[in-house]
């Protein structure tokens, strides 16, 4: 076998074909357009925008982020412009930018989830809908649905019926058995599962005696959570047949490769975008370089080949 000059990075997430496995994570990539000064966002496997709700959402009071060792807590509270403004103002511009896009959605009730999904079904440029059943920062952000197989199953079924778009269900890591949760999503009709969302955490100030977040608790993300995320992605890959999109603490091509190795179909990059806005494209380049170095012509030959 001769060493390929340009390895094939395409991956398939169900029916969605991506030019490479690197997807920007919801809530860490704005509406995508903020990144156009840094690079051409059509280079990404896909862009996932900030979680959208039926109506514009103000979000939580300030005191929304706290840095922690190799991680951060956030309690943004899903501030967003609402699905309507997204559809009319943002989606066309993302289409112009040539980006492959998925919309992350949440609702306070099952009906709201359905309504957002329905509204987004009308947008041809959207490749998929990612159901956030796991935001720990708003009471109604799905974590109530996402922490038991039954709750998740019910929600997924309803949203599944409301849209013809490929449906990716984003799972909460705050559970005893991630495999069971992933199976519930699969059985309820998800086309893929995304994991992990943030792990619930907390920080307080010993001197003022107050929580550092206005919301008291927040979601932990960043390199600190990577070992936990990787384990859960591995467990989910063993539990379901649908594609698993791996996320949690990925900062480098090496990190992304760890997730692909345990079986992820694609990866998402979140917190890493903050310190290095070019993180996603550097990871794509790094994966390509790795495959060249290892003389692997197609990423698909590498995925899921963990030796036990």
């Amino acid at each position: 076998m001769t060493s390929p000059v340009t390895p094939d990075l395409t991956v398939r997430v169900g029916t969605v074909l991506l030019k490479n496995p690197v997807i920007s994570a919801s809530g860490t990539f704005g509406y995508g357009l903020e990144f156009t000064p840094f690079y051409d966002i059509s280079r990404l496997g896909a862009v996932i925008v900030k979680g959208l709700s039926l109506l514009p959402t103000p979000g939580n009071a300030p005191g929304r982020i706290v840095e922690t060792p190799a991680g951060m807590l956030n309690a943004i509270g899903l501030q967003n412009i609402g699905v309507d403004r997204f559809v009319t103002e943002v989606a066309p511009r993302l289409a112009d930018a040539g980006a492959v896009c998925a919309a992350n959605i949440y609702g306070r009730t099952v009906e709201e989830y359905e309504a957002v999904a329905r509204r987004l079904s009308e947008v041809p440029m959207l490749a998929a809908i990612e159901l956030n059943a796991s935001c720990p920062n708003v009471k109604e952000g799905g974590i109530a649905f996402g922490s038991t197989p039954e709750g998740l199953s019910g929600l997924t079924r309803r949203v599944r019926a409301a849209t013809g778009k490929p449906l990716w269900v984003k799972l909460s890591p705050n559970v005893s058995d991630i495999g069971a949760i992933a199976r519930a999503a699969e059985e309820a009709g998800a086309d893929a599962v995304t994991l992990i969302n943030t792990i619930v955490g907390m920080a307080v100030d010993p001197r003022t005696r107050r929580p550092k977040l206005s919301n008291v608790t927040g979601g932990l993300s960043g390199p600190a959570v990577k070992p936990v995320a990787l384990r859960m992605v591995w467990e989910a890959c063993k539990a379901v047949k649908i594609p698993v999109i791996g996320i949690g603490g990925i900062q480098s091509a090496e990190d992304a490769l760890e997730f692909l190795l345990v079986g992820a179909a694609a990866v998402q990059v979140g917190t890493a975008n903050f310190r290095n806005p070019n993180a996603c494209v550097e990871i794509i380049d790094g994966i390509r370089d790795f495959l060249v170095r290892e003389k692997i012509s197609r990423l698909d030959e590498y995925r899921g080949t963990l030796l036990l």
Partner: protein
């Protein structure tokens, strides 16, 4: 053409030297940079992921020619990130995202400019003073510090430490005006007579309490006040919604991003 849109660049430290409680750091960057006073950079210069997040620093100065830019910062050590920065040496790498945020506005009708800096806040207003000095505008500078040693060195002051134009204030009276910078500003406002030449504009940066006092003193006199706010930031370029502050827009209080809609806000809009 110097760049004006945000970029992520790998810089190299040229100088990083302490002067009193402040450090001044000059960094070589691949291209010269054009910025609006009040704009800032997200800086991360340490190996490893702890601290994880870059730190915002106001852009103090920029220079260079095609293919060879420089940018300067002034900072004070207050915690882990700034302590790490202070330990860096010439030759060390530094990652920067810049220029970021919405800086000060200089509309034509404002003809008199007062610049107010509390603590290290001068690092944000001096670039504005330098710009005004360059176009020979009429400006005065108010600088507040707890004590004499915590004032910036005189030769950092744009146009020089000219008495009458530069008002130094110390809480303990060890230099200049004996009292807070806001007290000095109030006195000056009492003596101030609107001239026919145009409106007075105040640009201020410092602790939130100070900014609030400046706004309360000046806004009733129909002075235009722009304040540069601080906030804990994760990204610095508007994608995480972590840094918001409450502002009034069209009669409604909404959360706006300090890093994107700010850091400079019209003081009338800020919900203090």
């Amino acid at each position: 053409m110097p760049f004006r849109r945000p970029r992520f660049v790998h810089g190299k430290i040229l100088r990083n030297t302490g002067s009193g409680i402040f450090y001044r750091m000059e960094v070589a960057i691949p291209e010269p940079l054009s910025f609006v006073p009040g704009q800032f950079a997200m800086v991360s210069g340490w190996p490893g992921n702890d601290p994880l997040l870059p730190r915002p620093l106001a852009i103090f100065r920029s220079g260079g020619t095609r293919g060879k830019g420089t940018v300067e910062f002034v900072y004070k050590v207050v915690g882990r990130g700034t302590a790490l920065l202070s330990g860096l040496h010439g030759g060390d790498p530094l990652a920067l995202t810049l220029p970021l945020g919405h800086g000060f506005e200089f509309p034509g009708e404002d003809r008199s400019w007062w610049l107010v800096g509390g603590g290290v806040g001068f690092s944000t207003v001096f670039p504005a003073a330098a710009a005004l000095d360059a176009q020979r505008s009429d400006f005065e500078i108010f600088l507040g510090a707890r004590t004499r040693d915590q004032l910036p060195p005189g030769d950092w002051i744009p146009g020089g430490a000219i008495p009458g134009r530069v008002h130094l204030c110390t809480d303990d009276g060890t230099a200049g005006f004996f009292g807070s910078v806001t007290a000095a500003l109030r006195e000056r406002l009492d003596r101030w007579k609107p001239s026919g030449k145009g409106r007075l504009a105040i640009l201020a940066c410092g602790p939130r309490e100070m900014l609030k006092t400046v706004a309360e003193a000046a806004l009733p006199l129909d002075v235009r006040v722009q304040v540069s706010l601080e906030s804990h930031m994760a990204c610095g370029f508007g994608v995480c919604w972590g840094c918001v502050t409450e502002v009034r827009e069209g009669g409604k209080a909404v959360y706006r991003r300090v890093c994107k809609e700010g850091p400079v806000f019209d003081a009338r809009e800020v919900v203090w």
